[in-house]
């Protein structure tokens, strides 16, 4: 290994980057747009779900219940209808996702038998939204229901404690507001860097083959390992800038609390970037066309990183076969690491297991990439 050759290659790559604006655009613009697109596009919190009400009683009780819906941040009452067909039409036109129907004998049943059904109709074309909306609706109704029970008990003059022998005092750690953005955005940094990093290096070797410069390069005494390190070094520098950019957007723009240390972040991010850049380089060595290598890199990084990394979809809720597959998805280790650094302030010892996995991955990719490069035209 000669430092002189490493330097010559790294300088040459930097010149390519400077003269070819495409790689700079991939390098700087892609992370920026993706952070904002995914950052705003992907959120699991539902706010202001449009609600249509059909109050068939129009009593003090029924209006009080509907006021609870209106007061909830999760719902927004957009329509009040007076007939059932109008309600169906409102759902059909997607004017609302949820309809609340209060029966005509609502108050009567409450006072007479102490209970009354309330109908909630959900548009389940998006089952995830429907599920979440149902949960919120149940909470609103049961909240009102408890109020009614308390009123009744107060009127009978009985003590509260006797009815509620146990009470859960919940405290939410790490993401106190249960804001889904806080756990999605750090993972998003992993997804974006996995995508961008592999794209950057997927072009470096295939470009030399396509332009015919590789034939001369392999006639020189340059070693495969020197070529790899010399080519990866400038992209590692560029990716550091990108990663810093993404992390700054996460912390400063989206306001995700950062509780870890910059040192832990730097060490783990570098490790992850080596894996990502190494994968792109390996593909570039194996597939000697720029288009081919960059398409395969996109395919190999986008789907696993978004679906199997646990950045949005929790891994422990996946079928066990799929869970086993996720061990191959290097992004999952960095998703785990970066969420922990941001929200829990974890240090390196606490993250030893995912860091170890990344280390093994990095070593394997680097060795494979150096070996896959053959200095002949065969």
């Amino acid at each position: 290994m000669r430092i002189r050759r490493l330097k010559a290659i790294a300088v040459k790559e930097l010149l390519h980057i400077r003269r070819d604006p495409r790689s700079l655009i991939i390098g700087l613009l892609m992370p920026f747009t993706q952070m904002f697109m995914f950052g705003y596009g992907v959120t699991l919190d539902l706010r202001h779900i449009p609600v249509c009400t059909f109050d068939r009683e129009a009593s003090q009780h029924s209006q009080a219940l509907l006021k609870n819906f209106a007061a909830s941040a999760y719902f927004a009452i957009t329509r009040n209808v007076r007939t059932y067909p109008a309600l169906v039409a409102a759902i059909d036109r997607a004017d609302c996702k949820v309809a609340v129907v209060i029966p005509p004998d609502f108050s009567l049943r409450l006072t007479d038998i102490g209970t009354s059904p309330v109908q909630v109709i959900l548009d389940a074309t998006d089952d995830n939204t429907a599920n979440i909306a149902l949960g919120y609706a149940l909470a609103v109704v049961s909240g009102y229901s408890s109020g009614v029970v308390l009123d009744a008990l107060n009127r009978q003059g009985r003590e509260l404690q006797q009815i509620r022998p146990m009470k859960v005092q919940s405290r939410v750690w790490f993401n106190e507001d249960l804001d889904s953005r806080n756990f999605i955005i750090p993972g998003l940094v992993a997804v974006v860097m996995a995508l961008v990093g592999a794209q950057l290096t997927s072009l470096t070797i295939s470009r030399e083959w396509e332009r015919g410069t590789m034939e001369l390069l392999i006639s020189t005494p340059v070693k495969p390992s020197e070529l790899m390190i010399g080519k990866l070094a400038p992209y590692l520098a560029l990716s550091w800038v990108d990663a810093a950019f993404c992390l700054a957007i996460a912390a400063l723009w989206f306001g995700v609390p950062f509780r870890g240390t910059i040192f832990t972040l730097f060490v783990t991010t570098t490790l992850f970037l080596i894996v990502v850049l190494g994968i792109g380089y390996l593909l570039s060595v194996l597939i000697r066309s720029q288009i081919g290598a960059s398409q395969i890199a996109l395919l190999l990084t986008l789907l696993p990183a978004t679906l199997l990394s646990g950045y949005v979809f929790p891994i422990d809720q996946m079928p066990s076969v799929v869970q086993d597959i996720t061990y191959l998805v290097y992004s999952r280790y960095y998703v785990t690491i970066i969420k922990a650094i941001f929200l829990k302030g974890s240090d390196i010892p606490a993250l030893a297991v995912p860091i170890l996995y990344l280390l093994v991955y990095a070593a394997a990719v680097v060795v494979l990439a150096a070996r896959a490069f053959r200095k002949n035209l065969g």
Partner: protein, 326 residues
């Protein structure tokens, strides 16, 4: 430029030894049992049609292709055993231009200086030498993409000699270059050879064979003739050459095909080139032979063959023998 002839008696110091090289791509035999040697300071020319196997042989010698048979020794090193050792001692210009077009003249030179580990203290001087040699003084900061073909090729040569390799492999370095630039390029090659550099250069310009100390003619992967230009002209044809002018080219050609002692004849401009066993004998006999057939040829004389004559004849003979074998 006249060629001063190959340096004499350098057989022990042969810088390039090809011994029975065979290279197949699938069923296609690209190199078919080729053997030759090149002495130190010698300029060996590879001639032959496109696809004859010239580039393949050069790539084998550079360690870029593995052989299916035979052995290549370059600078005393077995290419198959220690390709890296060979690579440090050779300079290579590939057929397709392979410098970085998006880098400047100087950036390319610096890059190859770094790759070959040219001592830092020497680098500036070597770069200046290469720039002057290529005639690119004052254009060090120009992007290579903006240079004309001849300049690009001279820069490629400059990059190839930056580490002062004892052996140069130049694959069609003058292809697509205008005649004046080609001439200048050959001057550079001769200057390098005079300094002791061994040069193997391929070309498809037949006239460039005259610039080589020795030339090898390659067709269908086989080496069909090798020797100095003068030697090739004298012996490779296997006969002597006559020129016959005639009003009735077609009829004369047909008649000569069957004439005694005529080995071959072909139309060359508005005259015929006739290959015969003995020029003096045929000059005496042919006028009568043609007159008997009612033909009255014009001026008839013995001529010295050009290398082009030699190559055309050799390739035609090679084709005929291949057809006969098939």
């Amino acid at each position: 430029m006249t060629s001063p002839g190959p340096p004499a008696q350098a057989r022990n110091g042969d810088q390039v030894v090809a011994d029975d090289l065979v290279k197949r791509f699938g069923d296609f035999v690209a190199v078919d049992h080729v053997s030759f040697r090149i002495a130190r300071g010698e300029i060996m020319g590879f001639l032959g049609p496109n696809g004859a196997g010239k580039s393949t042989i050069i790539r084998i010698l550079c360690g870029l292709l593995r052989v299916n048979g035979g052995r290549a020794i370059v600078a005393g090193i077995d290419v198959a055993r220690d390709p890296e050792g060979v690579r440090q001692r050779i300079g290579y210009m590939s057929q397709k231009f392979s410098l970085y077009r998006d880098l400047t003249v100087e950036e390319n030179l610096r890059f190859f200086g770094g790759i070959y580990g040219v001592p830092r203290a020497d680098l500036a001087g070597r770069i200046r030498f290469a720039v002057d040699m290529a005639g690119l003084a004052g254009r060090e900061r120009a992007l290579v993409a903006t240079l004309a073909g001849g300049w690009q090729q001279r820069l490629a040569l400059g990059c190839a000699v930056l580490h002062r390799p004892p052996i140069l492999f130049l694959d069609e370095p003058t292809s697509g270059v205008e005649p004046a630039s080609r001439r200048r390029f050959w001057d550079l090659i001769h200057a390098l050879a005079a300094g002791g550099v061994t040069v193997l250069v391929s070309t498809h310009y037949m006239d460039e064979a005259e610039y080589c100390h020795r030339a090898a003619l390659i067709n269908h992967g086989r080496l069909i003739a090798i020797g100095s230009p003068a030697n090739l002209k004298q012996t490779a044809l296997g006969g002597e050459l006559l020129l016959i002018e005639s009003e009735a080219l077609g009829a004369t050609l047909a008649a000569l095909r069957d004439a005694p002692d005529v080995l071959d004849c072909s139309v060359f401009g508005n005259a015929l080139h006739i290959l015969v066993r003995n020029a003096a004998k045929s000059l005496g006999e042919l006028p009568d032979y043609l007159a008997a057939k009612g033909l009255r040829p014009g001026h008839m004389t013995r001529i010295a063959p050009s290398l082009e004559d030699v190559f055309v004849q050799l390739i035609a003979a090679d084709m005929a023998s291949r057809d006969a074998a098939a």
